[in-house]
């Protein structure tokens, strides 16, 4: 498999893989903060949220240059998937800013 094709295939799932990792991280931080009573719990969560959104923005706004028919089509689908992942990241984790952390 050529390098460009491999990257196109990976970029198709890149955004949502980051989203999944972020999901686990935020859910884990939420649980740990409650278990150990962190005083800066919400600040930590909002910071993690910010980092996650920033990382998700990279593949969403920085499309790959592609060569070849297959990877060109893949790249378009990948761009949309990565933008969907960014949207999902912004919306799903927005509650860290206002919902109650441990009740």
């Amino acid at each position: 498999m050529r390098q460009g094709d491999k990257i196109a295939l990976i970029s198709l799932v890149a955004g949502f893989t980051v989203w999944s990792v972020g999901f686990v991280a935020l859910y884990g931080l939420q649980a740990l903060g409650c278990a150990y009573g962190w005083p800066t719990h919400r600040a930590v969560l909002i910071l993690a949220y910010g980092i996650l959104v920033a990382v998700l923005a990279v593949p969403a706004f920085w499309p790959l240059r592609s060569d070849g028919e297959a990877s060109a089509t893949l790249s378009v689908a990948a761009l949309w998937a990565n933008r969907a992942a960014l949207g999902a990241g912004v919306l799903v984790f927005l509650p860290v800013t206002f919902t109650s952390t441990c009740v």
Binding site: L91, P95, F98, T99, S100, V103
Partner: protein, 182 residues
């Protein structure tokens, strides 16, 4: 929510019918318009509004801070036992007494398997899980008798695991609790 769902369902089905019966009216709609319009622009604002409202509402329902009245509900196969931490002398009973018009925190626990505490007319439910203690805040607006059931399958006596909630006006409730106290 119900009406909105009905309208959206009707819209989807109307478009589908039109695709068959009046195809020329939809022929001008491009692929991008179908997908962006129907798949993104239509649902996203609705879902954001709905989820946002639900989360704000959910925040208000949380048992945060202290309330004046508390009760304990302990589930076992296949009965509920209610007691009152502020009135330790009261015998454990299978009927829950609460004051009407006041929020009450009910701490729900289980002695064996998982059950769920549910009084349909008073609001939501909460699971009774061995090893965990979950609190639900309920309020009966009117005095009366409310029926409660176990909502989580808990074995062959599941459907028999019902209980009564009696909501009294505040004065009666206070005197009941006081009369029972040692």
């Amino acid at each position: 929510m119900l009406a909105g769902a009905a309208v959206l369902t009707a819209l989807v089905l109307a478009l589908l019918t039109m695709a068959y019966l009046r195809p020329h009216r939809l022929a001008g709609v491009t692929a991008g318009q179908w997908i962006v319009g129907g798949g993104l622009i239509l649902p996203i604002p609705i879902l954001m509004l709905l989820t946002g409202t639900a989360l704000v509402l959910g925040e208000q329902l949380l048992p945060r801070g202290e309330v004046a009245y508390r009760a304990e509900a302990r589930a076992e196969q296949w009965a509920w036992r209610f007691s009152y931490p502020d009135v330790p002398g009261l015998p454990v009973s299978e009927t829950l007494h609460i004051p009407a018009g006041e929020p009450v925190d009910i701490a729900v626990t289980s002695a064996d398997v998982i059950h769920a505490f549910w009084v349909p007319r008073l609001g939501g439910k909460i699971d009774a899980i061995p090893g965990h203690r979950n609190v639900i805040r309920l309020q009966a607006d009117e005095p009366g008798i409310y029926r409660g059931i176990c909502a989580e399958f808990c074995g062959p006596g599941h459907e028999t695991m019902q209980f009564r909630v009696e909501a009294h006006d505040l004065e009666t409730f206070k005197s009941m609790m006081a009369g029972a106290a040692p």
